[in-house]
Symmetry: C2
Subunit: 349 residues, 2 copies
DNA sequence: CTGAAAGCGCTTACAG
DNA sequence: CTGAAAGCGCTTACAG
């Protein structure tokens, strides 16, 4: 048994520095830096010599040292409530993939929908990273407006934000309105809003979608019926099933459902099936969602899909531009959602 | 129009350094450092004064500069093929949450199951991060064994790895064997392996699970029937549906299915339903998976679940220990999977 | 095309 | 309990 470990395996690992490469080739660190970063002009032969030494010594530039000077780490922070919320999972996947393709690393920061953690992300300017992509859920639009001038940050999600930030917002209100209009066009007259908010004025995704619901009713000359708005504690299948079962038991008449999160819709479908209600014959169903599941439930589910790839693309572009340019006009991008019609709504006449 | 922007909004943002805090309080940077990091002993009054100055000036330690010295960035890289693969999504969520709770940031690095990118992650030692959590899918066990002594890295996934790495492996072979045994116990005699590999010897998750399938058959005195192993191009619902539909058309008799990925099982259930086969009366179904969906399909699906939280916990612990201690014995953790029985298998007599 | 020097913002011994 | 100096590994002007 070796009592003394070799030096290299104790404490700090031996590391090959730019200086070591320079010494090996017989040039200055500046020249090595030029070769490694393709900066300045370097003699062909020198370039080759440096490349060989880099390879042989296994030199890797230290991103910390590099970042300390250049102020660029090519890293962004993605702060979402968590992968389980709304379309966060596919959105995160899109950000990871697009960033990877550009050589940008992504630090994932789950906020848990916690106000303090959301604020901390903004204050922190992302720590190691060059900037922040934040989906605010607990910070209100008013607070956001009043926040001190931040480091590079892009807000993304369902809320349009007026504050000192760039933003990418999905047009949830518009999409909810379109979804309700579709249901009414297809003959529905009493549309249940599953997962909605009875009182207006909030700026959560649910509140914004509820606004669209109200607008569509108003435009169609219908009254807002509180009994048709089903608030749920969370957005799980169980919640959807329970809320729908309760409504079915109450004998309140209805002929359509707009579910604000897809799991709610699957729960509702379950309850409707049990109650013997035909979908879409007796009840039409539309849900906000992105899941592959929508296609495979029976009946398959008509959905309102957020275009997460576009959202990720735009958000990354905005952040990159702000990191590079510093002062530039705020940019607010709105991304439409798409309605994918499937079997849970009556097909167009 | 102001032609000259104020200095602070051009180029580098004005930044408050430790030196600025020191100057404000009238102490040295060392003292500020001591307060900020709770190192050494500092006078009560000095501590307070520094705290106040930190607050007023809005000082935030620069993690890059800190990391350059201490060699610790409190950041780890999580390299998975992608959120859509097997249990990667819940595993990633678990890593994000556990790390967050410990003040560790996580850089997500999607490898796309690409060999080069997997190797790059290992060579790179994670770039900015202190260490790497990698799920290898394309690198073979042999290659892994031969890799040069790496920076801190933990391999995780279905494969047990012998190389110079710590590892956390889910016991897929054991679990597959148990699942098949369960099916046989419940009266099945011809078990289809959906998503399996006909030829033995690989070390992908599918191959390891296929090994378990073979073992269970052998233990039960049954022969391995190649026609019952359905290879699928990917692991989507469509693949599961297509493979099952083809098998149903071929008139090959079978009375149970072990699906190696959950979407395959949902596709298979779809095909079985269409063909009028009763589940579990005529065909019992078990699937590897973690999805909430399993509970809500009809019939609900018996699953083999990986304990992603434990895997994440152990992997993070191993990595933290290796980062801190450097040389220490390799640690190989195996995490069992759990079979959750639901309606798609016959309940125990 | 290349080098020597200064400096990024912090921490780490080493003195007091 | 506190300070002055050196240094982490790189890049950035500035000279040649």
């Amino acid at each position: 048994m070796p009592v003394n470990e070799p030096k290299s395996s104790r404490g700090r690992p031996t590391v090959v520095r730019m200086r070591d490469v320079a010494a090996a080739v017989g040039v200055s660190v500046k020249t090595v830096s030029n070769v490694v970063n393709a900066t300045g002009q370097v003699n062909e032969a020198t370039v080759r010599a440096v490349r060989v030494a880099v390879e042989e010594l296994g030199y890797r530039p230290n991103p910390l040292a590099r970042g300390l000077n250049s102020r660029a780490t090519d890293t962004v922070t993605l702060a979402l409530p968590g992968l389980g919320y709304g379309y966060c999972a596919p959105l995160a996947a899109a950000v990871f993939d697009l960033a990877e393709a550009e050589g940008i690393s992504v630090v994932m920061e789950p906020t848990g929908g916690d106000r303090e953690r959301e604020l901390e992300v903004l204050r922190n300017r992302g720590g190691l990273s060059d900037g922040v992509l934040l989906m605010p859920t607990a910070i209100t639009a008013r607070e956001l407006k009043a926040l001190p001038s931040p480091g590079p940050a892009v807000l993304l999600g369902s809320r349009r934000v007026e504050g000192p930030f760039d933003s990418v917002a999905s047009q949830d209100t518009v999409a909810a309105e379109a979804a309700v209009r579709l249901l009414l066009d297809r003959g529905a007259s009493r549309v249940v809003l599953l997962g909605g908010e009875r009182k207006a004025g909030g700026d959560t995704a649910a509140a914004l979608r509820t606004d669209g619901y109200r607008r569509a009713l108003t435009a169609a000359g219908q009254k807002f019926v509180p009994a048709l708005v089903l608030e749920t504690p969370r957005s799980s299948r169980d919640d959807g099933q329970a809320a729908m079962a309760q409504l079915l038991g109450s004998e309140t008449p209805f002929d359509a459902v707009l579910a604000l999160e897809e799991p709610l819709a699957h729960g509702a479908l379950h309850a409707l099936r049990r109650a013997g209600r035909d979908v879409p014959g007796q009840v039409q169903v539309v849900a906000f969602g992105n899941d592959e599941d929508a296609e495979y439930s029976s009946p398959s589910l008509t959905t309102v899909q957020a275009d997460v790839t576009t959202m990720a693309r735009r958000a990354l572009d905005q952040l990159t531009a702000r990191v590079r340019e510093g002062a530039r006009p705020r940019s607010h991008v709105e991304v439409p959602l798409t309605i994918i019609e499937r079997e849970s709504t009556i097909s167009h006449a």
